[in-house]
Amino acid sequence: MHQEYTIIEGDFVNAGKASSSVKKTLKQLDVNPSVVKRVVVALYEAEVNAIAHAYGGKVLVDIDEDKIHMVVADKGPGIPDIAQAMQEGYSTARPEVRDMGFGAGMGLPNMQKNVDKLDVKSTVGVGTTVEMEVNFS
């Protein structure tokens, strides 16, 4: 099953819409609730990051029998040092992102904690692609 969602720059009101929709789909597919939570927490953090830091992008979701594969690809400033961005507490978030309850440098670490595979690729001045996979069992 393939699903696609569009992310609009600065659209904080709708941050999490894709994650909400994926949650509903996984519940309908009777996926273990603790696995569903790991998936949606990671995807939600990725969505918020793309809205907060980039100029728009896409969420691509592929659900198989035994796993979910998610790609959050944005057009944006990119991440100059991915290792530094992965450190808990490191943040470049603007004040408006903090006003939304995010921007404390926990997004990428939260994603890493909840998924089985995480791959972050970024080109400065072009954008960032976050690829995540979670096994259902």
Binding site: G16, V40, M100, M106, K113
Partner: protein, 113 residues
């Protein structure tokens, strides 16, 4: 303690979930930082001063269905609509986060950590 006892202790307003007030609540977590809420493995009552759509979205992702807004924050219609879709209870009180937590801790509500 029940949600109703929490409402009474704080002279709180119930915005959504009037029918859920007899639900027992054992634990609470207080934070304005939603990334922190997303790290929880349990589903406590969330005490927060953050009052926007992300409060509701975060609780949806974290499977939390009881939200207590402090510092006189009031949910918007848009927040209530999304919260209703997810069968949440939203209450608010005029006290600060510290005072709210102090009152509820004294009444026996437990912390997660």
């Amino acid at each position: 303690m029940t949600l109703r006892e929490i409402v009474d202790s704080l002279e709180a307003t119930v915005h959504l979930g009037e029918g859920n007030l007899d639900t027992e609540v054992s634990h609470a977590f207080a934070s304005d930082l939603m990334s922190e809420v997303l790290t929880l493995s349990d589903t406590p009552l969330l005490i927060t001063g953050l009052c926007n759509m992300q409060t509701i979205r975060t609780c949806d992702m974290a499977n939390i269905d009881q939200i207590l807004l402090v510092r006189n924050k009031k949910p918007t219609d848009e927040m209530l609509e999304l919260a209703e879709d997810n069968d949440m209870t939203i209450i608010s009180c005029r006290y600060s986060m510290f005072k709210t937590c102090g009152i509820l801790f004294q009444k026996g509500l437990l912390p997660l950590y």
